[in-house]
């Protein structure tokens, strides 16, 4: 028991690792600030194109979304980071992470938003169009606001997944929180820094996880 505590909850080591982890947390948050908006924007594009009435727009959009839902994000990241340089395309880990996650997250946000748009009764769009609004105006002012509200729990869930996903950046040595913690772990031969990072993730994400669970229950009943 003592051994377990010492290995996973060593307060001294945690305190020593804290500044490093805090710096990593900064990078994690910075990443989130970048990849969440990028993913939502990409997702919106994916949702709108995959619902296009024109088949030659719709099918390629759906195919791309499914492609990026089929490839594990880590594979995508390593392909971008380690593969593209062979073709002379060199980039920093940060840019590689941004690109890989943008592709992956857009596909997932796209599916959520698509479901949201589909959840709005057809009559809503018909009513708006009958008042003379254009297709774009209808989408922006009538369909999207309702659709987003309908899938808000799923949007939050997906955002939780995106934040969790940023931990993969550690694999390409981007100094986010898990990378920092793992570095401290390898220096101290003690897992407590990772426990510490886990605690930070819990503080960041548990409220959102709980919120969504309660929310969805209320809708279900």
């Amino acid at each position: 028991m003592d051994q377990l505590l010492d290995q996973f909850f060593n307060l001294e080591i945690m305190a020593a690792a804290w500044p490093t982890i805090l710096r990593g947390l900064g990078m994690t948050l910075l990443l989130c600030l970048l990849v969440i908006p990028l993913g939502v924007i990409g997702g919106l594009a994916a949702a709108l194109t995959s619902l296009s009435p024109r088949r030659w727009v719709r099918w390629p959009a759906i195919a791309l979304v499914d492609l990026f839902r089929a490839i594990p994000p880590l594979v995508l990241l390593i392909f971008v980071y380690a593969g593209l340089p062979f073709a002379g395309i060199r980039m920093s880990p940060f840019v590689a992470v941004a690109i890989a996650f943008m592709l992956n997250n857009s596909a997932y946000y796209g599916e959520v938003l698509r479901a949201g748009i589909l959840s709005v009764p057809r009559g809503q769009a018909e009513a708006a169009r009958s008042t003379g609004m254009t297709h774009a105006q209808t989408m922006r002012a009538v369909v999207l606001p309702q659709g987003v509200r309908n899938v808000l729990p799923d949007l939050i869930s997906n955002t939780v997944e995106v934040v969790k996903l940023t931990s993969l950046a550690s694999v390409v040595s981007l100094g986010e929180m898990l990378h920092a913690a793992n570095l401290a772990r390898s220096v101290t031969y003690n897992a407590s820094p990772i426990t510490m990072a886990a605690l930070v993730y819990l503080i960041l994400l548990w409220p959102a996880v709980r919120l969504v669970s309660r929310w969805q229950r209320r809708i279900a009943v």
Binding site: Q3, L4, Q7, F8, I62, D66, L67, R69, A70, I71, P72, P73, L74, V75, L76, I78, F79, A82, G83, L84, F86, A87, A115, L118, V160, E161, K164, L165, T166, S167, L168, S170, V171, L178, A181, N182, R185, S186, Y189, N190, A191, I194, T195, A197, A198, Y201, L202, L205, W206, A208, V209, R210, S213, Q216, R217, A220, V221
Partner: protein
């Protein structure tokens, strides 16, 4: 050499592909085996937890909710590194494959529990009353009447989640599980060529795209069914 030839030589180099295809295929089997184990264990454990939760035994329910929340809030890679590098120092040696399977299995169990629980609570209360009014007990009603309806309801989200989590077997690469990605990165560094990574990506697409398409089909059928 034209630009296109250079592109082919870098990403679709026949020689490199032939040389490393066998090891990547080995990785395919590892990925498939691990994925199947995760799905079987994760779904079974998650359904079981959701059913236990239906009895509303307070301490058990708190434990289940805390477990499910933690597993859903923590990045799997954090858990994997913590367990893989932490446990040996307290004298517990686990193979990297086992660590990957156990962690992702537990993560899937947590998501399954939440999804199935939402399904159980979404079944109409009249179903409980009808069954109980004929003398069927709580457990019988839960297993024979409520659970089958709940499972049917949650098949699309459950499929999506199971796919997302089995894809995470690629994380095993980080702790040395010889899966597709691991074999490919090894081959890539030996050959100094990006083709193994291309092959890995294609392998994942072949494995998972049919599942993704199936889940889309399930979802659409379900939505139409509800209307």
């Amino acid at each position: 050499m034209t630009g296109f030839d250079r592109f082919l030589a870098t990403f679709f180099n026949g020689e490199v592909i032939v040389r490393y295809l066998p090891s990547i295929l080995q990785g395919v089997w590892v990925t498939i085996a691990c994925s199947l184990l995760i799905v079987v264990f994760g779904v079974a454990a998650g359904v079981l937890l959701a059913c236990v939760r239906a009895y509303r035994i307070a301490p058990l329910n708190v434990a289940i909710v805390v477990f499910a929340d933690m597993m859903r809030a923590l990045p799997p890679l954090v858990l994997i590194l913590m367990v893989y590098f932490g446990l040996p120092n307290v004298g517990i040696m686990l193979s990297s494959f086992l660590v990957l399977f156990v962690i992702l299995g537990l993560v899937l169990a947590a998501f399954t529990e939440e999804i199935v629980w939402a399904g159980l609570t979404a079944v109409d209360k009249g179903q409980w009353e009808a069954a109980r009014s004929t003398g069927i007990g709580f457990t019988g009603t839960l297993l024979q009447v409520i659970l089958p309806q709940a499972l049917r309801m949650v098949i699309p989200p459950l499929t999506n989640r199971a796919i997302a989590i089995t894809k995470m077997t690629a994380l095993g690469t980080v702790i040395g599980v010889p899966d597709i990605l691991n074999q490919a990165t090894t081959a890539q560094s030996f050959s100094g060529n990006a083709s193994p990574l291309t092959i890995a990506a294609i392998a994942y697409v072949i494995l998972f795209l049919p599942l993704v398409v199936m889940s889309r089909w399930l979802e659409e059928r379900f939505v139409r069914h509800r209307r």
